[in-house]
Each structure stands twice: as structure tokens, then as C-alpha cells.
């Protein structure tokens, strides 16, 4: 047995083990959550379910810790490390295959829970196993608490170091963090005293996998897009993990490029033109704003057209990863660099509006449908009131409704109800080509129906709903507010059930 100096009755080697376990847990949690959120698609419900599964994996580890002999714990840890070397290649291929089976949702969530146990249970078991084993040697309450303090501190500091490692790898391909993670795991297996042959084998496999990782990740990601998303011939052009989500650009022959955020398609090249036309170009053409603001639109695809029609344009985007993808695949950054009347702020739109001193003639909100709380906050009555306060006299707020406006209580109607709670005048354009409606909100009519139709109608079928017709459609809709974001759960659940649990033929 290796002996070492002790801190509060705990061997330094044990403290190093716990610190490594803490770091592994932090990095493993990030990798697992990001991978499965991306595989199951990033609604908030999925994010919460995946995070909860990881924590349940920890509980399983804590639960079995007392029953595991040290030798078995070492073996379990070595096995877990070995299994994790197959991640995420085997995970992705497995998920693609499971998604083809009947009851795919059940299988996929079982697949997730299995991963959670492999990722979390063994490293989590180390701390209580160490404390409870030591308890048999010296059982006084003071000694127990002293050992807990030094041991748990080591694990927490390791966890913080793991978080720092994760942050250092933002905006890099997942392969970078994975390679570091495997090094941590092999070191952990070594320090807990797994057999040398096992350690050597794990180190060799990790080294080989690391060398192949970039090609392996691309190939397995394309497998997921082909089988799970049904995108034949999909080619992955970019995949990075930003602080907020996995940002991927996928290209298909004849179909152009598409941006995927946490596995959900955010936009594709074919509908991007229609989206930007109605959301940005139409109001900017009608208003010719001296100052325009666009919140969202991280791909920057609307910037050039808007800047041409505005005195000055300000872009605000939260996620630098999306800006990076936009600049590489959706716009020509050299042309944007030449725009003298454009500025870009990477920050939260709400925060920007709260601290902005200037007023804008046109504010465009180009953010995804409220499928997460963060996105939901940008569709609330409170957010629209913030935007209203920053509009100049005669200014207009332009919002995309994520679907056609109908007389019901669904997302587009609820977004318009939120707008109506703040703005006396809301006019809506429904576009067949964009497959959604767009709302323009103001204090009073900023343009006539005729002028709107004249500018808006380009190779499309559109319906313009004037304020009275808009009001009739949102009669039954409740505004989205900071206290009424149930749509995030309801719509998320609907989508998950429809995607994974609906009976065939539904």
C-alpha cells in the first residue's frame, strides 16, 4: 500500500484522487449534458431531464459507495473509464440506431440514463466510500467532520478546476475537451490504484482515440444527421461548443447550409432570405430608420441589407459561437468589415436595452421560438415594454412569430398578445414562403396596409392582418410574461412526445 502524508487524517494521495474525481465530474457533466441535449434536441425540458439524469447518476454512486469494497470500486472505476473512451462515437451511433426503433423515446432516455451512471456514479462514489471506510478506523464525530472538510474541499476545488478547463475550451471543437477529459480519467484510474496493465491499456486506447478523434467525431455526427434527422448526404462543416449551446453547420448537396443549435435547426439557407426579408428588410425599407437595432440574428445575415437602409445599425447577440458560425458560413466578413455604420455587441439583449441611452426608430427581435426560458424571456410583455421604452417617436418593433398566427392560444398568438399588452397598434404579415407570420408593433400606424403589401410582396403569397383582425385572433391568447412562461413546458412536451413517443400514424 502506498503511504503518504496526511491532512486532517486523510492521505494526500486520497485528496489528489478526490480532486481528480471532482475535475472529472465537472468536465464529464458538461460533455454528457451537451452531447445528449444535442442528440435529444435542445428544448428546456430536455436540458432539465438530461441534467437530472446526470445528478441521479451521482445519487446511484453515493448509494452504492457504502457497499463497495475498495478493490471493486477500483475495478468499477477502471471499467467506467474504459467505457467512456467510446464516448461520444459509440453514443452517437447508438442514438442514431435507437432512433430507428419503435418506442425510440424510451430507448433513448434509457441510453441517456446508462451514460449518466457510467459518467457520474463511479467518480461520485469515491468521496463517501473514502469517508465511510475511514469511519471504521476512527469514529469520533470531530474526526469524521475533520476528514469530511479536507476531503470534500479537495473534491470541490477539483470541480472548480474542471469548470475552468471547460471554460478554456469554449469555441473549440469538442475533440479538445474530450482529449483533456480522457487524460484526467486515465490519471484518475492510475491514482486509485487500478492494475498497471489496465492503466497501460486505457492510456494506449485513449491515445489512439485522441489521434482519430476529429475524423471520428465528424463521421459520427454525420451519421446522426443522416439517420436521426433524416438528412441524406449531410456534411458537417463546423461543430463547436459555445458557453450556451452546441453550434453546428451542416451542408447538403443542393440544399445549402443550415445552422443547428443543440441539435435543433435554427435556420437554413433557403428560408433565411424570406425570414430576413419580412423581419428586417420590409420595415427598414418603409421606415428608413436613422437608428436601427437588431437583437439576435447571430449569423449576421440581415446586417448588410439593414445597414444599407439605416443611418446606423446596432447588432446585439448573446452567443459568440453563433457569430463565429455566421461569419464563417453565412456572410462575407470582409464586406461586413467595410460597413462604417454598423456596430456589434456580444451581450444579452435585455441587458443592452436596460443600459442603452439612445432611442431607435426600428428594433428587430430575431430570436428563436420560446422553447427555453432564456428565449422565453425575450418574448415576454416585460421585454417588449423594455423595447417600447427605447423606441423613438414613430418607432416600430419587428418580431417573427415562429409560425402562422391563428385564433388559438399557441405560441404565435401568445407572442402577439404580449405585444398587444404593450403596443396599441400591431399589424401582422403572414408569408407562405417563410411559413410563418411577422408582427410590426408601434404606438400608432407606422405605414399603411397598401404600402406594406407593396414592399412585402416579392415572389410570395402573403396575407396582411390589420389591427382589428389581429385582435380577433388573439382574443383567447394569454400574453407571455415573466409569470406565464408555461409555453416552454407545454410546447416542449408536445414536441418531445410528438418526436419520440407518438404512436405510429399519429
Amino acid at each position: 500500500m502506498i503511504t503518504s502524508r496526511r491532512v486532517a487524517g486523510v492521505e494526500r494521495r486520497a485528496l489528489a484522487t478526490l480532486a481528480l474525481a471532482g475535475a472529472s465530474l465537472a468536465v464529464g457533466q458538461f460533455l454528457l449534458v451537451r452531447e445528449f441535449v444535442s442528440l435529444l434536441y435542445g428544448e428546456e425540458l430536455v436540458i432539465v431531464a438530461v441534467s437530472a439524469c446526470f445528478f441521479l447518476g451521482l445519487s446511484v454512486g453515493y448509494g452504492v459507495a457504502a457497499r463497495l469494497q475498495p478493490a471493486r470500486l477500483q475495478a468499477a472505476l477502471a471499467l467506467c473509464v474504459g467505457a467512456q473512451l467510446l464516448f461520444p462515437a459509440a453514443t452517437r451511433v447508438g442514438a442514431a440506431w435507437l432512433s430507428e426503433l419503435a418506442y425510440a423515446g424510451g430507448w433513448l432516455f434509457l441510453w441517456l440514463f446508462g451514460h449518466a451512471i457510467v459518467f457520474a456514479a463511479a467518480p461520485a462514489a469515491l468521496l463517501p466510500a473514502l469517508l465511510d471506510r475511514r469511519r471504521l478506523v476512527d469514529g469520533s464525530p470531530a474526526a469524521r467532520v475533520a476528514r469530511l472538510r479536507s476531503s470534500y474541499t479537495a473534491e470541490l476545488l477539483g470541480y472548480l478546476a474542471g469548470l475552468a478547463l471547460v471554460a478554456a475550451c469554449f469555441h473549440r471543437p469538442p475533440a479538445t475537451l474530450l482529449a483533456l477529459y480522457w487524460s484526467l480519467l486515465v490519471a484518475l484510474a492510475w491514482i486509485v490504484g487500478a492494475r498497471r496493465r489496465w492503466i497501460a491499456a486505457l492510456a494506449v486506447v485513449a491515445a489512439v482515440m485522441t489521434a482519430w478523434l476529429p475524423r471520428l467525431l465528424t463521421a459520427t455526427s454525420e451519421t446522426v444527421y443522416a439517420f436521426k434527422h433524416g438528412l441524406d448526404g449531410a456534411r458537417l462543416r463546423m461543430s463547436i461548443d459555445s458557453p450556451y449551446q452546441r453550434v453546428e453547420v451542416v451542408e447538403r448537396p443542393g440544399r445549402g447550409r443550415a445552422l443547428y443549435l443543440d441539435g435543433l435547426q435554427n435556420l437554413n439557407a433557403s428560408d433565411l432570405g424570406a425570414l430576413n426579408h419580412y423581419l428586417s428588410v420590409v420595415p427598414a425599407t418603409l421606415l428608413r430608420p436613422a437608428r436601427a437595432l437588431i437583437i439576435g440574428n447571430g449569423t449576421l445575415s440581415a446586417v448588410e441589407a439593414l445597414a444599407r437602409r439605416s443611418g446606423h445599425l446596432t447588432s446585439v447577440e448573446l452567443d459568440p459561437g453563433v457569430v463565429l458560425a455566421g461569419a464563417r458560413f453565412f456572410v462575407d466578413p470582409r464586406r461586413l468589415a467595410k460597413l462604417a455604420n454598423w456596430s456589434l455587441h456580444v451581450e444579452d439583449g435585455k441587458q443592452f436595452l436596460a443600459r442603452a441611452e439612445q432611442r431607435f426608430d426600428l428594433i428587430i427581435v430575431d430570436v428563436p421560438s420560446p422553447l427555453t426560458l432564456q428565449e422565453g424571456f425575450l418574448h415576454t410583455r416585460e421585454f417588449y415594454a423594455q423595447a417600447h421604452a427605447r423606441l423613438a417617436a414613430g418607432g416600430v418593433l419587428s418580431v417573427q412569430l415562429s409560425g402562422p398566427l391563428r385564433a388559438n392560444d399557441r405560441t404565435p398568438a401568445r407572442i402577439v398578445a404580449s405585444l398587444r399588452a404593450v403596443f396599441p397598434y400591431v399589424i401582422v404579415v403572414e408569408s407562405a414562403r417563410a411559413d410563418r407570420s411577422f408582427a410590426y408593433a408601434a404606438e400608432r400606424a407606422p405605414f399603411t396596409k397598401a404600402s406594406l403589401e407593396e414592399v412585402a410582396l416579392v415572389d410570395d403569397r402573403i396575407v396582411v392582418l390589420e389591427p382589428a383582425a389581429v385582435d380577433r385572433r388573439v382574443q383567447a391568447a394569454r400574453p407571455l410574461t415573466l409569470d406565464a412562461l408555461d409555453v416552454v413546458v407545454r410546447r416542449g412536451l408536445e414536441r418531445i412526445v410528438g418526436r419520440y413517443f407518438a404512436a405510429e400514424g399519429d
Binding site: 445528478f55 453515493y62 459507495a65 463517501p128 465511510d132 469530511l148 472548480l160 415573466l482
Partner: protein, 320 residues
């Protein structure tokens, strides 16, 4: 029995910590920023609090109560002054204080429970409670709104205190929770007669309150605009001339602000609009001799305002 109690304390602690942590995250995302730094800051500060809680032997109940109080102060401040730059400086120590119990709990649990597998029990119980809290608070907030972010930590905090002490603080907190649960219904802004406002109250308010340096300014909570005082331009229109008739826009703004200043839990006489201009009330708008707007409730101007607030037509020489 002791093991069950230990497990219950661990689970209640997990629930409580989840409701505090998620409460902080959601509140800060809503009212400060959804940026990654907010998440990183809350996580790092929480862990710092946890480390301090591990090493500093605070009384358990004090750690729970201080953590809860810090959270409530942050919650109230964020809701009262969203996006205020000082909120961050308030949240930093608050999150650390709330994290104290996350560390202190394990010391308490291990000192109390000397049975086989005590650590595993404490960690498993706390973590499982945390998972339940994570899911519950997310669903609760999405379906019930911000009220959940107030009540969930109060209820879970009371449960932890009840399991810790069986008396005193838990009962007090429970009393607070139950007392707060009495539904007094929503406050409704009064809506006294609009046309009576234009003829009876508006001229008085304009005359006595609408000076440019006082309530004839958009920076003030209570505002009144019109002829002879500050003029208010409707969006997209030029401001009216100094002595033009009051515009519908000015009348509407002045009416809305006046009825908002009539909101009160008690009698209408206690509403700010009718209380602040009186001699005995605190009011910055006193003249050079230190006199408030009205010496008594019998003054004609005051009676015109109070009459409008109660829906009464006051036939006075001063009320036009």
C-alpha cells in the same frame, strides 16, 4: 428512526438548496443578464459559500436562515429594480451566504449520524433531493410564475429548520409562510370618473403640483402636464404651445398617474395622492416657509381632489 430522520434532513436540504440555486439563476437571468458569466458567477460563488460553510462552524439554523434571508433580499431587490447596476454587488455576497448551508449541512449530518454508511446516506439523500428540487422548481416556475421562486425556498427552508430544531425558528418561518399564503386578492388600481377628473381634479393638480421642477417632469413617479405648465408631446407630434388646451395625450397621462397614486391597501385618504400634500406628511414640495401644499383637509383644492377620488362632485368656487 435516527437514520430516517437523517435521510429526511438530507432530502429536505437538497430540495432547499435546489430551490435557492435555481431561484438565484432564474432571478439573475430575468433581471440582470442571461449571459454565461451570470451562470458561472452564481456557480463559483455558491461553491465558495459551500467551502466556507464546511470550515466555519456556524450554528446550523443560522446558516439556513441567513441563506434564506440573503436570497429573499436579492429576489425582492431584483424585482423592484431590474437591471440596476448595483444588483450584482448585492447578489455576490448573497449567493455566498446562501451557499453556506450547502457545506455546513454535511458537517452537521456526519456529526449527528454515526451509523454505517453515514456519508453515503448524507450525500445520496441531499443529491436526490436536489434532483427533485431542480425538476420541481423549473416546472413550478414555468407553470406558476415568480411566486414559486418566493414560496418554494420558504417552504423548503421551513422544512429544513423543522428537521433541525423541531421548534422556534421552524415554527416562526412556517408562520411566516402560512401568513403570507393568506390570499388578499390582487391590488386593483382605482378608476375614478375620467370626465370628473378633467373638470374637477386636473385643474387643481395642474395648479398645485405641475411645476416643471416638481411633478411636471417625466422623471417623477407622479406626473401632471398641461397648459401653463410643462407640455407633453404625443409620440410623433410636436409639443403643444404653452397655453394651448390640454391634449388628450396629456389628460390621459395625468389621469393614469393620478389614479396610480390612489392605490392603497387602506382607506382612500391614506393613498399617496391625498396624504402627501398634507401638512403632517413627508413631502419634498414644501415652500420656502416649509409649508406643504394644503394646511388642512378642509382646503378647497384638497376637497376637490378627495371628492374626485370618492366619485363626488364638489361644488366649490375653486373647483371650476
Amino acid at each position: 428512526m435516527a437514520r430516517r430522520r437523517a435521510l429526511a434532513l438530507a432530502a429536505a436540504t437538497g430540495l432547499h438548496l435546489a430551490s435557492l440555486q435555481l431561484g438565484y439563476l432564474l432571478t439573475i437571468q430575468m433581471h440582470l443578464s442571461s449571459g454565461y458569466l451570470s451562470y458561472a458567477l452564481v456557480t463559483a460563488l455558491w461553491m465558495l459559500g459551500c467551502l466556507i460553510g464546511l470550515w466555519v462552524a456556524l450554528p446550523a439554523a443560522l446558516a439556513v436562515i441567513a441563506g434564506l434571508a440573503s436570497y429573499l433580499v436579492t429576489l425582492v431587490a431584483c424585482n423592484l429594480a431590474p437591471f440596476h447596476p448595483s444588483l450584482l454587488w448585492l447578489a455576490i455576497p448573497a449567493v455566498i451566504v446562501s451557499g453556506l448551508w450547502a457545506g455546513r449541512f454535511f458537517c452537521v449530518a456526519l456529526a449527528r449520524d454515526d451509523g454505517e454508511g453515514a456519508s453515503a446516506r448524507a450525500f445520496a439523500g441531499e443529491n436526490t433531493g436536489f434532483v427533485a428540487g431542480l425538476v420541481g422548481v423549473f416546472l413550478g416556475y414555468a407553470l406558476l410564475g415568480r411566486a414559486l421562486l418566493l414560496w418554494a425556498p420558504l417552504v423548503t427552508g421551513a422544512s429544513v429548520l423543522a428537521l433541525l430544531c423541531r421548534r422556534g425558528p421552524a415554527l416562526a418561518l412556517l408562520g411566516l409562510v402560512l401568513g403570507g399564503c393568506v390570499d388578499e386578492g390582487p391590488s386593483v388600481v382605482p378608476a375614478p370618473d375620467r370626465s370628473l377628473f378633467a373638470t374637477q381634479a386636473y385643474p387643481i393638480l395642474l395648479r398645485d403640483c405641475g411645476f416643471p421642477g416638481c411633478h411636471g417632469a417625466e422623471e417623477r413617479y407622479y406626473q401632471v402636464f398641461g397648459p401653463g405648465r410643462t407640455r407633453l408631446a404625443a409620440p410623433g407630434e410636436p409639443p403643444p404651445g404653452p397655453f394651448d388646451l390640454a391634449t388628450p395625450y396629456e389628460l390621459a397621462r395625468s389621469y393614469d398617474r393620478a389614479r396610480a397614486a390612489l392605490l392603497t391597501d387602506g382607506d382612500v385618504d391614506d393613498a399617496p395622492l391625498l396624504r402627501k400634500p398634507l401638512e403632517e406628511a413627508g413631502h419634498a414640495g414644501r415652500d420656502v416657509l416649509g409649508r406643504n401644499v394644503y394646511a388642512t383637509r378642509d382646503e378647497a383644492g384638497y376637497r376637490a381632489l378627495a371628492g374626485w377620488a370618492r366619485g363626488l362632485v364638489i361644488l366649490e368656487e375653486e373647483a371650476p
